[in-house]
């Protein structure tokens, strides 16, 4: 199937990861020799063992704890369908497109900077995390592009490779740091190896020099290796995103928006930067060997250059065209089938209504508040009061009309209730339950208004229905269809 790209790409990443591993072992060998003296029989072997132990411990910790650690460090909250139906839908669409067996868990970070990341070592146990800022700035197609990019990381096993590489980098950093520090503070050789013989002394000096060189250069080289792995995986995730959505423009314009956003991600620790869609530390303008991500404008230009199709081959062609590198990410011969993937039209052409930016921003704010146990009260005057969980008094006065309201305190079920206003099936049920229609004086009728809500009214004369806005204040209204008079009764509320 089209995931044949993984096999071809795996080899290159494995070579990089293995060379990093060899580097780690070399460092262990020479530093072990330098510390224990070259004459010691087990010096090099001991150094290698210690380096390996450090790496394995780090690897195990990050294997079993990294998901929760990442999500915990960035304050992510797991959400379900009701919180943001569009996000849930988009993830499910991508799940279908990529034929993942299990739905990834979805997390939202309360952060105004638009960004996203994925965690999880396997296809069956993974999570996608987006910021509230992303939801507020991106259109449906753009959100889909970003989610597909994250799914791409999951499918290409990037998190696995990056975890292995990151722990190797970490071990190299630790070893070189400890060695250099110990040498700095105790410049004299304590282990007495030099005094044994003159030839051993010369060998010792050579080993010491090699150890110092590795300790100083090691971290730099390891970083370069690590970031080159990271960058390569970003391009591939972009290619996968285009392939899955069949709409490269979605991700391109999302990247543009993310790059243009002024808010900076405050909740991301630097160690998890490579896992984000776009580096949260704004390095994306440079193309230095220390960048975790390829330059943003290059990624956008590649996506926009894909005019012929949305397949991997099209991405690779665009990649060569834009970057002018002679070596493609993946050789065309490494792709099993030269499939033809047509680019689809934007979903706005197909009739999806754009909701105004301000309205979306407001809704994301409400969603985050609902996640953070705010109480929502809709006052009959039309005011929506959002009470933070820290507010301890039992009642609150509406700031506009000063009516007193009891604060409904959140049991865990409350979130669903608040958000059910957005979920469509429960809403249609609400209407039928809450609308009371009485027939009086022949044709005309009296309807009692539900305060603060859109309300469906069925005309008693013609049988058609129309909607009453929550701001409706008058006492009567004509049916929108037949013109029959309907009396609207606003329930009398006792104000304090």
């Amino acid at each position: 199937m089209f995931w044949s790209i993984i096999a071809a790409n795996k080899r290159k990443t494995v070579i990089l990861v293995v060379s990093m591993g060899i580097f780690l072992l070399l460092m262990g060998y020479f530093i072990g020799m330098a510390v224990a003296g070259p004459a010691h029989r087990l010096a090099g072997l001991g150094g290698i063992t210690i380096a390996l132990i450090i790496w394995v411990v780090m690897l195990m910790v990050s294997f079993w704890g990294s998901d929760r650690l990442f999500l915990g460090m960035s304050n992510a909250r797991e959400v379900d369908r009701g919180s943001w139906p569009q996000l849930f839908n988009v993830v499910e669409e991508m799940k279908i497109a990529s034929s993942l067996k299990k739905m990834p868990r979805i997390y939202i970070v309360d952060d105004p900077a638009p960004n996203a990341f994925a965690v999880g070592k396997s296809e069956n146990n993974c999570a996608i995390c987006v910021t509230a800022g992303l939801l507020a700035t991106c259109s449906r197609d753009e959100l889909q592009g970003v989610v597909a990019h994250e799914i791409g990381h999951i499918l290409n096993r990037d998190i696995l490779y990056l975890t292995v590489a990151a722990t190797m980098l970490g071990s190299i950093l630790i070893i070189s740091d400890v060695f250099l520090r110990s040498r700095w503070y105790t410049p004299s050789v304590r282990f007495g190896s030099r005094s044994r013989s003159r030839s051993a002394g010369r060998l010792g000096a050579v080993v010491l020099l090699a150890a110092f060189l590795l300790a100083i250069l090691g971290p730099v080289l390891a970083r370069i290796l690590y970031f080159s792995i990271s960058r390569k995986r970003e391009y591939l995730a972009d290619a996968t995103s285009a392939r899955l959505t069949r709409y490269p423009e979605g991700l391109a314009s999302a990247l543009e928006k993310i790059g243009a956003a002024t808010a900076r991600l405050s909740s991301a620790p630097s160690s998890i930067a490579p896992f984000y869609t776009v580096n949260p530390y704004k390095q994306h303008l440079s193309s230095s060997p220390f960048a975790t991500h390829p330059p943003l404008d290059e990624r956008i230009r590649i996506l926009r250059a894909m005019s012929m199709g949305a397949g991997y081959l099209d991405y690779m062609k665009a990649y060569v065209e834009v970057t002018r590198r002679r070596v493609a990410l993946v050789q065309p011969s490494e792709l099993l089938d030269a499939e033809r993937v047509e680019i689809r039209g934007s979903s706005e052409d197909a009739g999806t209504t754009r909701i105004s930016q301000a309205a979306v921003r407001k809704r994301t704010g409400d969603m985050i508040r609902a996640l953070n146990d705010f109480a929502f009260i809709t006052c009959p005057c039309g005011m929506k009061i959002k009470v933070p969980p820290e507010y301890s008094a039992g009642t609150i006065a509406c700031p506009r009309c000063s009516r007193q309201h009891a604060i409904p305190r959140a049991d865990s079920g409350d979130l669903g209730l608040i958000l059910s206003q957005r979920s469509l099936f429960s809403e249609t049920q609400h209407f039928s339950q809450e609308t009371t229609t009485k027939k009086v004086r022949g044709a005309s009728q009296v309807v009692s208004k539900i305060p603060g809500q859109w309300q469906e009214i069925t005309c008693g004369t013609c049988g058609k229905s129309f909607e009453l806005s929550p701001a409706f204040k008058a006492s009567q209204r004509r049916c929108a269809h037949c013109g029959a008079l309907i009396f609207i009764e606003t329930p009398h509320l006792t104000s304090s």
């Binding site: 139906p85 839908n89 499910e92 669409e93 279908i96 497109a97 052409d349 197909a350 909607e467």
Partner: protein, 189 residues
């Protein structure tokens, strides 16, 4: 060892190899057929979802679109036709008709700003867009599988096994998308 035994060994090895190949091919064909059934079931789930959404959508729009009775009726009729279709080809045709009716409906919605501001309608529209996408993506997965099976059934030598066990060609699920097939407009200005 005589030449006779050598020939015998070669013949037996040949027969074993052929039997192994036949078993492997048969299993691969069965696997593909099951995958196609599974992929088709996925499509049916999404089509059902779309059929369930449409009455809600029409009901919501009715209050606003007083003068668009024919468009709404057309959507309802297309839905009924699609829901009662049985064979892959019938379903393809009926669903294409339904998609067309929905596109015309959505184009008309543009003229009704009140309807476009209705929360209920927006939620339904989001569901509908998502369902269309799911149909598109699961259709692609299904067609990929059908292509694999058809290749196996038609190509030599797996076609011999396929013929012996009566594997038939899978049917592609095509939705004619008028917007996609249209000749791109080029403007020189």
């Amino acid at each position: 060892m005589t030449a006779g035994t050598l020939v015998l060994i070669v013949v037996i090895a040949g027969v074993v190899a052929i039997v192994l190949y036949a078993v492997a091919t048969y299993n691969a064909l069965v696997g593909l057929r099951n995958q196609i059934r599974n992929a088709w079931a996925q499509i049916e789930v999404q089509l059902k979802r779309r059929h369930d959404l449409i009455p809600n959508l029409v009901e919501t729009a009715k209050g606003y679109m007083v003068h668009e009775r024919s468009t709404l009726e057309e959507v309802t009729k297309a839905r009924t036709r699609a829901a009662s279709a049985k064979s892959v080809q019938d379903i393809s045709q009926a669903e294409t008709g339904l998609s067309g009716a929905l596109v015309r409906f959505m184009a008309i919605v543009e003229n009704y700003p009140d309807l476009k501001a209705n929360q209920n309608f927006l939620a339904l529209q989001e569901e509908l867009t998502s369902t269309e996408n799911r149909i598109a993506f699961s259709r692609q997965a299904y067609n990929d599988q059908v292509l694999f099976l058809n290749n196996k059934v038609q190509m030599f030598p797996s076609n011999i096994i396929a013929g012996m066990f009566k594997f038939t060609l899978g049917e592609f699920f095509e939705l004619e998308d008028s917007a996609q097939r249209a000749v791109p407009k080029v403007q020189f200005s």
